[in-house]
């Protein structure tokens, strides 16, 4: 078995690998396969790798930068074909991809893991174990995210342990004018929605500075009309005007992804359960 590990190499993922990679993902879970196919086709293969034994693709991993953030990444599709698991290949794949990221100056990476059960077994249990063994720390859990009873755990990892912030950035000047401008069902979920929002630089003399509870309620009603179960929203931690309207309309605080945008500037997660109304 050691021989396999010795023979394997991690290299960039090419278009020609896509078929084998998707096959591995589809084998694990059909929904994952569908989502991966769409995502990889839409966003491309940059930052993605395959682990191969000769010509045979045994698994894949990758990362995507988060736009508008300072050296923040999300871990992308990380899967091994069933026969290759349990021999340290997963961790090695991860290690090499993360070393590459570290060389590029990456600051923090997050990974999302579902707790989906199949026949009473959490099919992502080994992935979660691998991330934790690598040094990822659980940062927040969104209950009923993917579907009723299926939560999402987000774990984070600092490339330099010393870069974790002690202080929250309090940007007092930050008074952006935030407007909701749409709603969408979150990818890979059943009935979990989010609002799209934009930031305007200036506000009209008599205009509102921020969305208010009424605006949030309009969005909630629209999601309910579409048959949505839950609404999930995320905002940077330095906005002062968002909290009251969210709380007033029944949003709950889920947690935060620390230092998401940059050191000291976190991403706050909120959820609203429409079924409990």
């Amino acid at each position: 078995m050691n021989q396999l590990a010795d023979r394997c190499v991690l290299r960039s993922m090419y278009k020609s690998d896509l078929h084998s990679v998707l096959e591995i993902i589809y084998q694990h879970d059909d929904d994952d396969g569908e989502a991966a196919e769409e995502e990889l086709n839409d966003l491309g293969l940059e930052g993605h790798h395959v682990i191969v034994d000769g010509d045979t693709v045994l698994g894949a991993t990758g990362y995507r930068p988060v736009e508008g953030c300072d050296q923040t990444y999300y871990l992308s599709w990380t899967y091994l074909t069933e026969s290759a698991r349990g021999q340290g290949l997963g961790k090695r794949m991860l290690r090499e991809a993360m070393d590459e990221l570290a060389n590029q100056g990456a600051r923090k990476i997050f990974v999302k893991v579902s707790d989906y059960q199949e026949d009473g077994v959490n099919i992502y249990g080994s992935a979660l174990a691998m991330y934790k063994s690598f040094g990822f720390k659980e940062e927040l859990i969104s209950q009923d995210f993917y579907d009723e009873g299926e939560s999402q755990t987000i774990l984070g990892y600092y490339f330099d342990a010393g870069s974790e912030s002690d202080d929250d950035l309090q940007v007092q000047e930050e008074k952006p004018v935030i407007r909701f401008n749409g709603l969408f069902e979150i990818a890979e979920t059943e009935g979990a929605y989010s609002f799209a929002w934009t930031v305007e630089k200036t506000k009209g003399f008599l205009n509102k500075r921020n969305f208010d509870a009424q605006d949030v309620q309009v969005g909630l009603d629209a999601v309910r009309d579409e048959g949505g179960r839950k609404v999930f929203l995320t905002f940077p931690s330095n906005l002062v005007l968002i909290h009251r309207p969210l709380q007033a309309t029944g949003f709950k605080y889920v947690g935060r992804l620390k230092d998401y945008y940059e050191a000291g500037l976190h991403e706050l997660h909120f959820s609203h359960d429409l079924s409990s109304w």
């Binding site: 969104s142 209950q143 007092q172 000047e173 008074k175 003399f205 509102k208 500075r209 921020n210 931690s237 002062v240 005007l241 909290h243 009251r244 709380q247 709950k252 605080y253 889920v254 706050l268 909120f270 959820s271």
Partner: protein, 255 residues
């Protein structure tokens, strides 16, 4: 006892305060010849506010006729007088107070609203002075009424903020910090005492304008303040302001 600065962080650039400071300075330097004669006297009569000029009330307190009753632009002088001053000390003192207290008040409402607020306080101040002696023939000048309004607003908005005061005892210069409520409270008490005791027969401090402006500011601020902007201000209000984000510490607000 003189305020040097306050421990109140500025959130937005106080454009309106800058503009008002510049306007007052330009008026003093250009229209009033920086206090030189005869420009000073002429400008005070031309742009100062003379109550008797608009009330035509009898000069009950027998104030001296400084300008002649036909001088001045009548009611318009209510506005123009706000940008005139009587001496270097007068203009520097006024603009210093505007500089110290104006920025945070502007922060609480935005620049355009602040200009309107400032002018309204000045108008109320001039009217208050006029009612205190409708027949007065003494021209009234100075931004102090409007700035009194700024101080009235400040005491309502930021009573706890520490103001650094310069204290001069012969040759000992020292500073200490007092809450705005104490410093501005002391200031308004002095004005009230002055207003009660001065006869108004001589030119000098327009105590009633200060009091009128101060009250106007303290009242108008409830109309003009923008709660959303204030939410941003760590030193607003009487008690240690809660950070808006702390609302989620409540277990009821957690998922």
């Amino acid at each position: 006892m003189f305020p040097i600065k306050d421990d109140n962080p500025q959130v937005a650039t106080p454009y309106a305060v800058y503009a008002l400071l510049a306007l007052n300075a330009v008026a003093w330097l250009l229209l009033q010849g920086a206090g030189s004669s005869p420009a000073l006297g002429v400008s005070i009569c031309q742009y100062g506010f003379i109550p008797a000029n608009v009330t035509h009330a009898s000069n009950a307190l027998n104030t001296p006729e400084v300008c002649g009753l036909t001088a001045g632009p009548g009611w318009l002088a209510v506005l123009s007088s706000m940008f005139m001053h009587g001496s270097w000390m007068h203009v520097i003192g006024n603009l210093w107070f505007l500089w110290i207290f104006g920025d945070n008040v502007e922060d609480a409402m935005g620049s355009l609203r602040f200009v309107i607020f400032y002018l309204l306080c000045g108008v109320v101040a001039a009217l208050a002075q006029m009612f205190s002696n409708p027949g007065s023939t003494i021209p009234m000048v100075g931004a102090s009424g409007a700035i009194g309004g700024v101080m009235g607003a400040y005491i309502v908005l930021y009573p706890r903020v520490k103001v650094h005061l310069l204290f001069i005892l012969v040759f000992i210069f020292t500073t200490f910090r007092v809450p705005a409520i104490a410093m501005l409270g002391y200031w308004i008490v002095i004005q009230v005492v002055g207003g009660m005791t001065s006869t108004g027969a001589t030119g000098g401090t327009a105590f009633w304008a200060h009091i009128g402006g101060f009250l106007a500011g303290a009242i108008l601020i409830w109309l003009f303040k923008d709660e959303e902007l204030l939410e941003n201000h760590p030193f607003r209000g009487w008690r240690q302001a809660r950070n808006p984000i702390d609302i989620w510490d409540d277990p009821d607000n957690k998922a």
